[in-house]
């Protein structure tokens, strides 16, 4: 195996995907680097969520493949794949009267079977996931009694309990206020650092994306418009090309990351 293949936890090769006659992804190729945080961003309808879900095989491609290491994921069975790639869906749901422990426990599903009931390993993974996300004290609480920020932490704990090398999160901070957005993404980065998990995130907010990404990928019209480090991608020209927005990019004086100040849409007829 070559060095570069070792670094690529996941390779998306010539992936095409269509909903009926509507093509969503067009022969898209992308390496996902091992142990890094990759953020997918792009305008509405660009296919970023679809790509993330295809990486977890929630959608079947019409062409191309997604490889995990050397293996085409379409050849893996449900349980094997679920032990390798976890996904926190966009706006996931569970009954209000389910307890936190009952939900996080679901993350152990792919590690259990009729022959393998709940084991000490499962219990240890459950404890690690709850401690790692700081929800241990909520163990017996009902989901319906949690705040939005707590609930999102609990869902992340569930994905973490799955103990997959790769963790995909589809717009995990969508409905959270500013404090909880930061809290949640700091947690994701900490998990990436502490556990060496490969993380793939879909984020809407460009500045949050630039702040947390090791590698940023811009999609547009089902294809990759640009990919690279946040510094490489966050330029006024690239943002104009991908998002149709005129902007000013400055360096965030606190974190040293690029920060985009949107000025106006390119099609706007209203004077700035």
């Amino acid at each position: 195996m070559t060095d570069s293949a070792m670094d690529h936890r996941i390779s998306v090769d010539n992936l095409s995907l269509a909903y009926g006659a509507v093509s969503v992804l067009n022969a898209l190729s992308l390496p996902i680097l091992k142990g890094k945080i990759t953020v997918l961003a792009g305008p509405n309808g660009c296919g970023k969520s679809t790509l993330l879900r295809a990486i977890r095989r929630l959608h079947r491609p019409s062409g191309g493949q997604v490889r995990l290491g050397d293996v085409d994921i379409s050849t893996l069975n449900d349980r094997m794949l679920a032990r390798q790639i976890g996904l926190l869906a966009q706006s996931p749901s569970a009954p209000d009267d389910m307890t936190v422990e009952e939900l996080v426990r679901l993350g152990r599903y792919p590690h259990q079977s009729m022959m393998q009931p709940w084991s000490a390993d499962d219990a240890a993974a459950l404890d690690r996931a709850m401690a790692g996300t700081g929800v241990d004290h909520l163990r017996k609480r009902r989901l319906g009694s949690l705040s939005g920020g707590q609930l999102q932490r609990v869902w992340i704990a569930m994905v973490l309990a799955q103990e997959t090398d790769v963790v995909c999160l589809d717009e995990p901070v969508n409905h959270l206020d500013m404090a909880h957005q930061l809290d949640c993404l700091d947690l994701v980065r900490q998990l990436n650092a502490d556990f060496g998990r490969t993380v793939v995130l879909v984020l809407h907010d460009l500045n949050l994306a630039a702040r947390y990404a090791d590698r940023l990928v811009f999609l547009r019209d089902g294809a990759i418009a640009a990919s690279g480090t946040p510094e490489e991608l966050m330029t006024e020209a690239t943002i104009a090309r991908v998002f149709d927005v005129q902007s000013m990019v400055i360096t965030d004086p606190v974190h040293g990351r690029p920060l985009c100040i949107p000025l106006r849409t390119q099609s706007s007829t209203i004077p700035a």
Partner: protein, 329 residues
């Protein structure tokens, strides 16, 4: 509130309550019997009138009612999980309506008159209805929870209407069939338990095999799939289990409504949402509930017997209203 009682206490308590309910079913009724008379009839049968009444009339009820209650309660748990809807039940899926329709058609059009024949018709009706709902839902673009319920409610309404049309034109048979249309444990022979009991056990075993997948299905489809749950397979298996449980229950007692709606709520309050606990708890609670309802049916309009289905429907209706009110609040 989370379950405050330790689990061993809950399980032992439920088993003792079930045994007590079955003893009440044996001893209480138009005539009251002592425990000594029950003991004698069951274990030292002497051919006396008392012994005959107990072993031929009371014993089948004390066995059938818990079997039916357990089957319907487990079916209710699965239907509520599958549809992610806490007010769904085998009734909502149209299974009881399908069973009633099958009984009426078998009786009026095919001339089936025997108890066994009608009971098989009922089971077949429930099975066919569940596959019909399943097939329509799958064909209409996937087994989404809301679609399953909408199709079930439509089929139920359709079934009840056809039953009423047939019965309006066949008044002579109304009296004979009324018995099947409201559910009862009166005058059912033990043989029904011998055919229905094993089917209930198979349905319950299938549900228990699926318990972890059912846990995961309480979350949304994307989450369940990401966890590695084969959705179509689990939904198909669950439907088979519901069809077996409801079909067998209806074949033993006719449509005893609302048991499958009410009991799962009590089970979840007692032992939480994990199906490894929820299913056994619902089975025990359902058995207790149906047995006590059957005992109550003997005294409600004493000395005449009320149909047990009417009692479970009244209790269930009140509970449903409370649930809906709480949800709206």
């Amino acid at each position: 509130m989370p379950a405050a009682l330790p689990f061993p206490v809950v399980w032992v308590g439920l088993v003792i309550a079930l045994l007590a309910a079955m003893l009440m079913s044996l001893t209480l009724g138009f005539r009251l019997y002592g425990l000594d008379q029950v003991w004698q009839a069951l274990f030292a049968f002497d051919g006396s009138e008392t012994a005959v009444v107990i072993s031929n009339l009371r014993l089948p009820r004390a066995v059938l009612a818990p079997l039916v209650g357990a089957g319907l309660a487990i079916a209710g748990v699965i239907v509520q999980t599958l549809s992610r809807n806490r007010i769904a039940s085998p009734d909502t899926l149209g299974l009881n309506a399908g069973a009633s329709l099958a009984v009426v058609v078998a009786s009026t059009a095919l001339g089936v008159g025997s108890l066994l024949g009608l009971s098989l018709s009922a089971a077949l009706g429930a099975l066919l209805t569940s596959f019909l709902v399943f097939a329509i839902a799958a064909g209409a673009g996937g087994l989404s929870p809301i679609r399953i319920v909408l199709i079930g409610v439509t089929i139920a309404g359709l079934g009840h209407s056809i039953v009423e049309i047939i019965l309006t034109t066949n008044e002579a048979q109304l009296q004979q069939l009324l018995f099947w249309l409201s559910g009862s444990f009166v005058d059912r022979p033990m043989t029904l338990a011998q055919t229905g009991g094993p089917i209930i056990l198979i349905g319950a075993a299938l549900a228990l095999v699926l318990h972890r997948a059912l846990d995961a299905l309480q979350a949304d489809d994307s989450t369940a799939t990401s966890l590695g749950v084969p959705l179509a397979l689990v939904r198909g298996g669950s439907f088979v289990s519901v069809a077996l449980l409801t079909g067998a229950a209806v074949s033993m007692a006719g449509p005893v409504t609302f048991v499958g709606l009410v009991v799962p709520h009590a089970a979840r309050r007692l032992v939480g949402l994990r199906h490894a606990r929820q299913i056994p708890a619902a089975a025990l609670l359902g058995a207790i509930y149906a047995t006590l309802a059957d005992v109550a049916a003997r005294f409600l309009i004493y000395p005449v017997e009320a149909p047990v289905g009417a009692i479970t429907a009244v209790v269930g209706g009140v509970v449903l209203l409370v649930l809906l009110k709480r949800r709206a609040a």
